[in-house]
């Protein structure tokens, strides 16, 4: 059983379209992170959200942390081919395990 479920698992869109990726859990997280990973590379951190309801923007990317700190979303506006990659959410569980849990991943392909 995965602690963090992402949807969709695969997403293929045309350049210029908008998209949203979801990350859901039944657990409460003290903070949640979004990473992007390209083939042959390790994940690279995009953003960390800490406060329930927090919204952060990074150019065309908007990240939101759910009020209950159990879920998050990543919205990309006007997607570009350079956005292609594997998007991963990851979170620190509020109590218990001392490690960073990763989601199942969303593989995004932006077609020129």
């Amino acid at each position: 059983t995965q602690l963090l479920e992402q949807s969709p698992q695969f997403l293929s869109i045309q350049e210029g379209e908008n998209l949203t990726v979801y990350c859901n859990s039944s657990s409460v997280f003290s903070s949640l992170q979004w990473y992007r990973q390209e083939p042959g590379e390790g994940p690279v951190l995009l953003v960390t959200v800490v406060t329930g309801g927090e919204v952060k923007k990074l150019k065309r990317l908007t990240f939101q942390f759910g009020d209950a700190r159990k879920d998050s979303s990543l919205h990309i506006t006007a997607a570009q081919p350079g956005d292609t990659g594997l998007y991963l959410c990851a979170g620190w569980v509020q109590t218990g395990a001392n490690n960073l849990f990763f989601g199942t991943g969303t593989r995004l392909t932006v077609i020129p």
Partner: protein, 113 residues
């Protein structure tokens, strides 16, 4: 170097052999993590070190897997009697501690034939 370094980048081994994977974390980072990633999936937690000690090894799949970090810096992941199912990319990450940004290495692609 400035980032997390993992060696080798690729390792092909025969079923039943022993392998060691090395991770050089960012200098000053006390926390070190090992993950295993299958193609197209999210990283799966294996073990977390705080300093020299394994603070959480609950992700190690069985007793064939073992990891050490004797001086609180470099870590080695050791896999005995490798099986084809062990084939994956093994990722290492380091950070200043819990709840801080984790920086990943490029990974070691292990193939067991």
């Amino acid at each position: 170097g400035a980032g997390v370094s993992q060696t080798p980048s690729n390792k092909v081994t025969e079923k039943g052999k022993y392998v060691e994977l090395r991770c050089d974390p960012i200098s000053g980072h006390t926390a070190l993590y090992w993950y295993r990633q299958s193609l197209g999936q999210g990283p799966e937690f294996l073990i977390y070190f705080q300093g020299t000690g394994a603070a959480d090894d609950s992700g190690l799949p069985n007793d064939r897997f073992f990891a050490v970090r004797p001086e609180g810096s470099v870590s080695t992941l050791k896999i005995q009697r490798t099986e084809r199912g062990d084939s994956a990319v093994y990722l290492c990450a380091s950070s200043f501690g819990l709840y801080t940004e984790a920086f990943f290495g490029q990974g070691t692609r292990l193939t067991v034939v």
